[in-house]
Structure formats: C-alpha cells, structure tokens
Symmetry: C2
Subunit: 138 residues, 2 copies
C-alpha cells in the first residue's frame, strides 16, 4: 500500500488519477464509507468525476482483490480496503461500521476448518454484528 500506483499496476489495472484517488481515499480511512460517501470525498479533488465512475471503479477494485465490499443491513454497500476477514460492528441507529479485531474468533481459521467439513470452496467470510453503539445510547 506504500505506493498506490504500483499496487494497481501489479493487479494489471491501468493507473488513472481517478482510480488512484478512490483507492488512496479508501486506504486512508477507517470509516467503511459507502460509494456515495467516497464520491463526495473524491469530488474535492476531481469535481467532474461521476458517481458512475466511482461505483464502477469500486467493483473493479473488488474483483482485483484490493477492496472488500460489505453487505451490512439492506442499505447501500460499504467498502473496506482491509481485505482480511474481520468482524464488523454495525450501529443500527447512526449507521457507523467499525472493525473488531481480536475478538476471540479467528475467521480465517474458521473458514479453514469448514472447508474440509463441508466440501465448500470458500471465497469469503463475513461476520456482522448489529446493535446500538455506546455513543447512540446517550
């Protein structure tokens, strides 16, 4: 992640200013933004960028394995540049999505164990916990 351009090139993706801005923004935040939020942020640097470009680029980055797409709740998808399997805490009131590392559950290990047991070829594991965050409980 040291060099955004280099990372894109390694994945066989063309390096464009828009792509770099989108991917860099995701690498620098811990907020798990939606495509809409990413658009708003990137527009500060590229006022002419279209929402469609942001949306499509996120799909390309996901397919390249550079970002993770989170399906939390039934609303718009959230994006995460941390592609390692980790737990997400989702506040049902403010919509915030937070990471939860070291929770006593190693998701990678869980997936490994299940592969043999079920015959499934795993590609992704998602553990989402919904509730109300401390801040939203006044």
């Amino acid at each position: 992640m040291a060099n955004v351009a280099e990372t894109l090139r390694e994945k066989g993706l063309k390096v464009t200013p828009q792509r770099m801005a989108i991917y860099r923004m995701l690498c620098e935040t811990r907020a798990h933004p939606t495509a809409e939020a990413i658009w708003e942020k990137v527009k500060e640097e590229f006022p002419a960028i279209s929402f469609n470009t942001v949306y499509t680029t996120l799909g390309i980055l996901e397919r390249a394995g550079l970002v993770q797409r989170l399906h939390v709740g039934e609303k718009a998808a959230h994006y995460d540049a941390d592609t390692s399997p980790h737990i997400h805490l989702c506040c049902e009131r403010c919509g915030r999505v937070r990471d939860l590392h070291k929770a006593g559950v190693d998701l990678t290990e869980v997936a490994q164990n299940l592969r043999a047991k079920t015959g499934y070829e795993m590609s992704k594991i998602e553990l989402n916990i919904y509730g109300i965050c401390p801040e939203c409980r006044h």
Copy 2:
C-alpha cells in the same frame, strides 16, 4: 410451531389465511427462499395473493421475531423461520443457502462476550460464508 395460528396470536398478530400460509411454508422448508420464491409457492394455495402482501407480511413476521431475514450477497433477501443465530453457507454459483450448525463456533456466546468488551447493545449476529458448493464443482 405446532400450531401456526396459535403462534401468530401469541405475538399479537391477526390470524389470516394468507399469513398462516406464508408462515407455515417457511416453517416447512429448509431452503431459505426469497420473497419471490415464497410468493410463487403460496400462490398455489392463494392464486390471488399479491407479491406486496407476501413482502409486507414477511416484514411483520420478522418484527415479531418469528422469522429471520438474511442479507446474503447483494441480491434479494432470504428468509428463515429458524431465528436462532446460526451460520449460513451461500453458493455463489447456484445461489443455494444452507445451514451450518455445530461448526465449532457458538454465535450466541460470541455475541455475549463482545457485549461487555465493546459496549454495544447487540441485537443480531450474522455469519455468512460464500463459496462454491460441492454440487456446483461438477
């Protein structure tokens, strides 16, 4: 689940033929159907039932705690009459959703442990694993 009508009444819901058919159908299947699939099935008994009624009723049943709504992938939601937290295996090719009980992870216990650690008031926990099922691997 012995008596569908009784279960609905206990939750303070009016007992209607449509509701009974929808809830009974969900109790009898292990397929985690979508609203669309439930509609197709219930139409065999009630040819005039509207998709909207099925959809709305599923929301009512969910709010009453009688069914669980699953957000697997980005496609339409799936429904489950088993409201206990359990793991779901989702095949990315055929779309099948399967239960995975006794996988060495007790989700209820995980949620309990996290409550103290994070200060979150948990209401729901979802563990979804995506991959290709044995049948789809030829």
